[in-house]
């Protein structure tokens, strides 16, 4: 085997290994229904801790974004405002329900700024953020991706998962609502899950 063949073989093997590894990571993030968020330490807009305990004993709509996002995030927030309004009038909706918007841009979204931004949509909405490694502790097991795209200046975009996640009162992921978000569809999907008998897994 000459040098060129060896190098080609090594290159192909490397690509294959990287591909398989990334594929496996994707697969694990896809099959995450029923995943339980593990321990994480975040903070609310009111400077209160937001941890695994905050997901216990109530249903949670959880979604991710940042305040320098002019398009997707306000659209989802506005739609979730309607979801919350519809559920408050719905006879089958559980009383214990929270809507949580998590900023994955802690460098710019301070808790105070984030609270004002999120509570413009509904004063009951919970604003949450925290250091990147703690955000990762919450997002990675739930299969939510986020990444700051450029490092220079203050004008960087952040790419982020757009699904609205529904967690049950045990903190288990029960459903992901993908784009485009429609309040009526999210309400119907939620009510359907709430009516299901409790699974003991």
């Amino acid at each position: 085997m000459n040098l060129a063949t060896t190098l080609a073989f090594v290159a192909i093997a490397t690509v294959a290994i990287v591909y398989l590894a990334s594929d496996r990571r994707d697969a694990s993030s896809r099959s995450d229904a029923g995943a339980i968020a593990p321990a994480f330490q975040l903070v609310t807009g009111d400077h209160q801790p937001f941890t695994r305990a905050n997901l216990e004993g109530r249903w949670t709509f959880l979604f991710f974004g940042y305040t320098h996002c002019p398009d997707v995030c306000p659209v989802t927030l506005a739609e979730m405002t309607r979801v919350y309004q519809l559920l408050r009038q719905h006879p089958d909706a559980p009383q214990s329900l929270q809507v949580v918007f998590v900023s994955v841009d802690p460098a710019r979204d301070t808790p105070d700024l984030l609270r004002e931004f999120v509570q413009y949509f509904d004063p009951a909405f919970v604003a949450v953020t925290g250091p990147l490694e703690q955000l990762g502790a919450l997002t990675a097991p739930l299969g939510v991706r986020h990444r700051r795209l450029t490092e220079q200046g203050d004008d960087y975009p952040v790419e982020h998962g757009t699904d609205v996640l529904l967690l049950d009162p045990h903190g288990r992921l029960r459903k992901k609502f993908p784009l485009p978000h429609r309040a009526e569809e999210i309400v119907a999907g939620f009510i359907e899950i709430v009516r299901q008998p409790e699974k003991t897994t």
């Binding site: 002019p70 306000p74 757009t162 784009l179 429609r182």
Partner: protein, 159 residues
Amino acid sequence: MKSRLLRSVTAAALILASSLALAEDATIHVRDAWIREAPPNAKVLAAYFTIENHAPWADALTGVTSAGFGKIEIHRTEIKDGVARMLPQPELTLPSHETVKLEPNGLHLMLMEPKSAVRAGDRMTLQLTFKSAKPLSIEVDVRKAHDGAEHAHEHPHHH
């Protein structure tokens, strides 16, 4: 007599010239423009509109400015595997005799560095510049989402 004829010819020429100018201005039409009201502390907002190019040649929207904002960029939201990312567009191509829509979760103007809080009911002026057409000034109303604008382009759905 001679001077009256000259006046008539001049007047006719002026009318012809101004109608030509109007015809040239009319190659680009902007309609259904709106800005989504954002939280008072928002650093960025989005504007949407429908833009028609009636010229027999392709054109491009090359820049947008407004006295109300420090900077305006043309952006496209790309959604891939449920992950959204914003892609700045150096210009927006406007094919001949075609309509391009800026709408939520797609193309939008990213309005940055607002000079003051922008509220529903406000009207902002945007200056659009093009590769071929003359600059165009448009008035854009600020509205809350869910007054019909957001889903106006979509098909009715059943409940």
